[in-house]
């Protein structure tokens, strides 16, 4: 087993679950998340610049984000059947609330996928993965200040996207899922 494989197996041991969770949250589909997870590791196995990667976990996380949004872009049928929807909300949620949450999440992700590359990545790292600005800066080679600036502008753009289409699309108030 070569060094690279050892590193990748360690990555799986330490953060495999977390990567899968991220892929799942970005695709909202178990099967896709699973496939993308494997695709990602196959790609990492063959990745030419592997030796230049200093810290594998943050790097893999960025790859996962990109793969997930690639999938979103490519996917022809944007309809998500309820059978593919996870048992997402907390146990107390009823099926209606679940559907609302699912739909909202999908709309949010669609909006995020329309952001520019760096914005998209940083927004996911910050708000979904809750990475500090400092660490985001380190990972993408920018200053924390810059990362904050991008987040700020990404939020503004998301706000525009999610509001400009008129209705929220779900027919339900936001509060429905936030409680």
């Amino acid at each position: 087993m070569d060094q690279r494989q050892k590193q990748l197996l360690k990555l799986l041991d330490d953060n495999g679950g977390r990567l899968y969770a991220l892929l799942y949250r970005l695709t909202l589909r178990y099967d896709v998340a699973e496939d993308l997870m494997q695709e990602m590791f196959i790609k990492l196995c063959d990745f030419k610049g592997f030796d230049d990667v200093k810290d594998l976990w943050p790097y893999a996380r960025r790859v996962a984000i990109n793969l997930a949004f690639d999938w979103r872009r490519k996917r022809a049928n944007r309809f998500v059947g309820l059978d593919q929807v996870s048992e997402s909300c907390s146990k107390e949620d009823g099926p209606v609330k679940k559907a609302v949450r699912q739909e909202q999440a999908d709309r949010l992700l669609s909006a995020v996928s329309r952001l520019k590359g760096a914005f998209r990545e940083i927004v996911v790292l910050r708000y979904l993965e809750q990475v500090s600005y400092e660490d985001i800066g380190k990972q993408i080679g920018k200053t924390p200040h810059h990362a904050r600036s991008i987040c700020h502008r990404a939020r503004q753009q998301l706000r525009g996207m999610l509001s400009s289409n008129g209705s929220d699309g779900t027919g339900f108030g936001l509060e429905a899922c936030n409680g």
Binding site: D2, G17, Y30, F41, I42, D46, K48, N66, L108, Y127
Partner: protein, 1184 residues
């Protein structure tokens, strides 16, 4: 619905975070990924499943199938658990974010082993599966074989074959089936590997491009800056212009799309700041470029006025201000945009610039009705900074001289459409034009005293010559003829023709500046029709080969052969000399010997060098395709650089490993002022031995070495390139520091000495010298062991001739000079030194100095040598007005040299001359040697009856275009005007020191200087220039007398009737590699010609007055070289330059039977050919 606020968006992300995947799903995904990784170990280029959508379940099914198959085969009805693997996924962490996976296998013995099998399979553990083939239980073996069939390789076949041979169950042999499947897989794999290797799949990352704008001074973000991004793409996509405004954080983000870029340009316009730009063409860089930082500056306004010679303002003058930048194509760094501006009606101009850039901004004035200010110079050099800021500069533009000329063919017909241009090849500048139908060309405004013009026309050979500009003279005449044809052939080292080599002519200053190039044909041949009749330098180059060049005069009959050697590829590895561990990161610096005469390689490791290559995997490969010799130097951080052996062009391949010694050196220091306070912002220059640093007004003049700047604690760190170095520290207020490496290793604290100050006044005659330039310069003696540096401080006097300067190098004795610009129309670069004094500048103290004022100006006019018909370019002369002293007591020195016995080194007889000379050089620097020379001086003074008259006042004479000359501040006394007038060597108007036209030998006396006459110039009238007898080709060798080594007379006249080859050599040749080898080739030539009664050879060297020591060395050297032809010395009282003119050493001069000089500056093959050609002329053609 109403607009969402940003908080709500964050809430939505929180909602998304609450979606937590199912544990089992997570485990399955992780296992699948793990299998993919394991698979990567065996078949790195082939994914586990052709489609990864083929789920992990397949693996589980496979196990089930194998087990079912086994059950069928053995007719065993016992149930086998279909799924034996249970996974427990536990959620840990307060935010339920991390899904940790814990797997435990459990069950009975067979179950456990089957579970184990499945795990091994999932993990892709082939070795583990192979081990399971040794299980006692056939079920396990068959299951393992089935799994190996999917993921196993050749290593499984042997054991499976053994099992297959031993198999005696019913139905198909499961082992054989597994082998067949493995073999199929292997074949497929081989086929995949045999395919041309595809690029490994890159992980796609979106391309975005960030621009950040900050204020350079405050480092605060700059909002509202307009940024325009201009992108050019590979392929057909239209160039794109995107405009954005920087946000409150100073950022601006652009989407670059997915197309490949070929160029990116960023224009930045921030209100209140100077406009900037950045551009990148480099494809490699463009592929990875993601951001750029603009540090913008507010700048200051500068300006002034432009007037004509009558003082009237000129409108519409373009002031072209361009900042020299380090912006190379391989870098992507912002720079200040071109800053053209124009004068208005009042003749005034204004531009906003960065104050620190005044010494980086070139300034050039252009107007169609005036002489273009071609000699642009830096703003700081052209103008006074205070005047620039006050916008009170005044620039004068002149109309210049109208010049016209005609181009004819050899039959006198006008040549229409010929290009006539000044300087290098045809450029669209104001001195490039074409002839009209009458063959006429004209230049409306010329300010130069001479023009180096080249004319070219289709079907004619190009012609170049220098013309003297004179408004009263006739138009220039240029006659073009058909020229010659140059034939050449390019072959490789085995003589095989090389097709497609690029052939070019050199346009260097010694050659005709015309552009020509060709490619060699299938036979390696090329021809240049209508080639210049003057000497040409032609190079042949081809990828994969060393390029080569030849210098010759066109000769239609001869085919010149260009031999191309294959380029040299050097490979090797780099190790730590002690541990022998590989060093991964290092750089390789090539060194080249550009000419045969170079004694050492010149390593190309100057700052920003593109010759240097970096490597990061412990090995290197380097291609060398230039230089007479080459070498490689390897440098790695923390190690002493190491150099390779010499590499020669005929090697083709070389393998050289480097073993580097660690550098145990201190590389951090602290700079303190005299009070012991750390100094922030001091510039620290670390320079190598043998490298010159030149500072002008405390700035690195050549911008060669980048300083490191101390931080707020006065600290700095650096990476020494060599074990010996010097650290020079400059701080505008705090002072100067200098530390050598050996001292720095002992203490890393550097204390600065305060700058010195210089004040004073300057006069010309009795009048204050207003606005004169004062130069204080410190020239450090050249010292090959340490870094070398020069400091010059330049400043100006005020209207009262007073000057005051701080920040002067406190180096003790420095050289202070007063300079005043010469008012000539040529350009403002010529200066004449009026007075110079040696002054002492001490740290923290002010030195007061009065310059000039003691003498009168001398003027006069030079006249052409009698009978000299060509135009003389007077400005190509140099000279001094020298005080006549009682002279150097040659005879006394000669007497003393004879008396004193020069010490001989031990073992003199067995030493070579080179060794003796080197010993002597070292000895003269020793205390003993210094005492010896003091003793000589004492004895000379004793015989002279007092100190030697060292009155050697010398005044710089400047000569203007019409031959008038002027020297200021000449004091009372007797003088000789020593001005030498030269021909022009090249298109830059440089003097040809080998071709002096003549020299003045005029004497005059400056009478007593009184208050009445001090401001009145002394006109010495006409000064005749006497032609210099010299060994120019075409001149006649005079019948001069020399001495041989025994003191007998040798008259050069006795050689008439024979060919004569004069070989001028110097003893110094013994320590000069190339000159030494020239002596060898002269010896060989002599051997060849020995016995030929038609030619004589005579060696000539300067004997002068010298110590007996040298008298012994000359014959010793000749003996060493095996030279036996006659030798002569130039006598002590003979002035070599008066006899032979100025020439390079060594030199060979060929004189024909009538005493005419027919060749000079000949050596090597050229000399042999010339001699052979002359001898052939002397051989009577046999009559049949």
């Amino acid at each position: 619905m109403a607009d969402m606020n940003e908080k709500e968006i964050i809430q939505r992300f929180k909602g998304l975070r609450r979606l937590t995947p199912d544990r089992d799903a997570a485990q399955a995904a992780v296992d699948k990924a793990r299998a993919a990784v394991m698979q990567g170990a065996e078949m790195p280029k082939k994914p586990l499943f052709k489609s990864y959508a083929f789920k992990f379940a397949v693996a589980a099914c496979l196990v089930a199938v194998c087990i079912a198959g086994f059950a069928f085969l053995t007719n065993d009805n016992s149930t086998v658990p279909a799924v034996v693997n249970e996974t427990e996924v536990s959620v840990t962490g307060a935010d339920a974010d991390q899904v940790a996976l814990v797997t435990e296998g459990k069950g009975s013995s067979l179950e456990a082993r089957l579970a184990e099998l499945e795990k091994l399979f999932a993990a892709g553990d082939i070795r583990g599966l192979l081990a399971m083939l040794d299980d006692a239980d056939e079920k396990i073996k068959i299951a393992a074989a089935g799994m190996l069939a999917k993921i196993g390789g050749a290593e499984a076949i042997k054991r499976l074959t053994e099992l297959s041979l031993a198999f005696n169950g019913k139905g198909d042999d499961p082992y054989m089936l597994s082998i067949a499947e493995i073999e199929d897989n292997l074949k497929e794999q081989q086929a995949a590997e045999d395919k041309p290797e595809e690029e490994a799949e890159e992980i796609e990352v979106d391309r975005s491009f960030d621009v950040e704008v900050i204020d350079k001074l405050t480092q605060e973000p700059v909002a509202g800056a307009a940024i325009t991004l201009n992108c050019k793409f590979d392929g057909g996509k239209k160039p794109q212009n995107i405009k954005e405004i920087s946000d409150a954080e100073g950022y601006c983000l652009f989407d670059l799309g997915t197309e490949k870029l070929t160029r990116i340009t960023v224009y930045l316009n921030a209100p209140g700041y100077i406009q900037m730009k950045a551009q990148c063409y480099d494809k490699k860089l463009l592929a990875s470029v993601s951001d750029i930082l603009f540090e913008v500056e507010k700048g200051v306004d500068i300006g002034g006025m432009v007037v004509d010679e009558q003082g009237q303002p000129i409108e519409g003058v373009i002031i072209d201000l361009s900042r020299s930048s380090n912006n190379s194509q391989s870098k992507f760094a912002p720079f200040i945009r071109a800053m053209d501006t124009e004068t208005g009606k009042e003749g005034r101009w204004r531009r906003r610039v960065v104050l620190d850039d005044l010494d980086k901004i070139y300034c050039r004035f252009k107007h169609p009705d005036y002489v273009d200010d071609r000699y642009s110079s830096y703003l700081s050099k052209k103008f006074d900074q205070d005047q620039l800021l006050a916008e009170t500069t005044v620039s004068v533009m002149v109309k210049g001289t109208y010049v016209s000329g005609y181009v004819y063919d050899s039959e006198g017909n006008a040549v229409e459409g010929a290009s006539v241009y000044e300087g290098s090849y045809y450029q669209d500048n104001e001195l490039s034009t074409k002839t009209d139908a009458n063959g006429m060309f004209e230049y409306l405004h010329v300010s130069r005293s001479s023009l180096f013009l080249t004319a070219t026309a289709e079907g004619f050979a190009p012609y170049s010559n220098t013309f003297v500009v004179d408004s009263d003279a006739d138009p220039f005449e240029i006659i073009l003829d058909k020229g010659s044809v140059i034939y050449g052939r390019v072959v490789d080292k085995d003589g095989v023709p090389v097709e497609g080599a690029t052939i070019r002519n050199d346009q260097g200053s010694e050659f005709v500046p015309v552009e020509w190039s060709a490619k060699s044909d299938a036979q390696g041949r090329f021809a240049w029709e209508n080639a210049p009749t003057q000497q040409v330098k032609i190079s042949a180059s081809m990828k994969g080969y060393y390029s080569t060049n030849l210098i010759f005069k066109a000769d239609s009959e001869k085919e010149h052969e260009f031999v191309l050697y294959p380029e040299l590829v050097v490979t090797g590895k780099v190790y730590d000399a002690i541990t022998e561990e590989p060093i991964n990161n290092f750089k390789v610096i090539p060194g080249y010997k550009w000419s045969q005469d170079n004694r050492s390689l010149s390593y190309q490791d100057f700052p920003g060098s593109t010759w240097v290559k970096k490597f990061n995997d412990g090995k290197y490969d380097f291609t060398i395709n230039r230089g007479f010799e080459a070498g490689l130097k390897v440098a790695a951080e923390g190690y002493v650089p190491s150099e390779s052996r010499t590499l020669y062009p005929d090697e083709e391949l070389a393998e050289i490993d480097f073993y580097l010694e660690t550098m145990d050196a201190k590389t951090k220091g602290v700079v303190y002022d005299l009070d012991g306070n750390p100094v922030e912002g001091a510039k620290v220059y670390v320079s190598r031995p043998n490298r010159w640093l030149m500072f002008e007004n405390l700035r690195d003049n050549n911008d060669q070495t980048k300083p490191v700047v101390t931080d707020k604690d006065g600290e700095f760190s650096f990476l020494p390139e060599d074990e010996n170095y010097v650290i020079i520290v400059l701080h505008d207020d705090k002072g100067f520091g200098e530390v050598y490496s050996e001292d720095f290793q002992k203490s890393q604290d550097i204390y600065l000495s305060k700058w010195g100050m210089v004040e004073g006044e300057a006069y010309i005659g009795s009048k204050p010298a207003a606005n004169a330039e004062i130069v204080v310069s410190f020239y450090k003696n050249h010292d090959p062991e340490h870094a070398n540096y020069n400091f010059s401080h330049k400043f100006r006097t005020d209207a009262e001739g007073k000057f005051s300067a701080k920040q002067i190098l406190p180096a003790g004795v420095t050289d202070g000079r007063l300079q005043i610009y010469r008012a000539v129309k040529k350009n403002d670069r010529s200066t004449s030194s009026v007075d110079s004094k040696t002054i002492e500048v001490l740290s923290g103290e002010t030195t007061y100095v009065v310059l000039g004022g003691g003498g009168r100006t001398v003027i006069g006019k030079m006249l052409k040598p009698a009978g000299y018909s060509e135009a003389v370019i007077w400005s190509a002369s140099s000279g001094n007005i020298n005080a006549v002293s009682s002279g150097y007591p040659t005879d006394i020195y000669e007497q003393v040299y004879k008396e004193i016995e020069y010490p001989m080194p031990l073992g003199y007889d067995s030493m070579t001359v080179a060794e003796v000379l080197e010993w002597s050089q070292q000895w003269s620097q020793s205390d003993e040697g210094k005492d010896f020379y003091k003793e000589i001086q004492k004895r000379v003074e004793e015989l002279n009856g007092g100190e030697i008259d060292r009155v050697n006042s010398s005044y710089n004479a400047v000569v203007s275009d019409d031959g008038r000359f002027k020297a200021d501040n000449v004091e009372q006394g007797d003088y000789q005007i020593a001005i030498t007038v030269y021909k022009i060597k090249d298109r830059w108007g440089n003097r040809d020191y080998n071709n002096p036209i003549g020299k003045s030998n005029f004497k005059f006396t400056m009478p007593e200087i009184t208050d009445d006459n001090i401001d009145e110039p002394l006109d010495v009238g006409n000064v005749a220039i006497e032609a210099i007898s010299k060994f120019a080709v075409g001149s006649v060798l005079p019948n001069m007398e020399l001495n041989d080594y025994k003191g007998n007379s040798v008259n050069l006249g006795i050689y008439r009737g024979k060919l004569l080859l004069l070989n001028f050599w110097q003893l110094h040749s013994a320590v000069n590699e190339s000159q030494d080898s020239e002596m060898d080739s002269i010896k060989q030539l002599h051997d060849k010609l020995a016995g030929n009664g038609k030619i004589e050879m005579l060696g000539i060297t300067t004997g002068g007055m010298s110590m007996s020591f040298y008298d012994d060395l000359r014959p010793k050297y000749l003996k060493e070289k095996g030279i036996t032809f006659k030798q002569a010395l130039i006598k002590p009282d003979q002035n070599f330059y008066q006899m032979f003119g100025q020439m390079g050493w060594p030199n060979n001069v060929l004189v024909d039977t009538n005493g005419n000089v027919i060749g000079s500056g000949l050596k090597g093959q050229e000399l042999e050919d010339a001699v052979a050609a002359e001898l052939a002329k002397l051989t009577p053609v046999p009559v049949e």
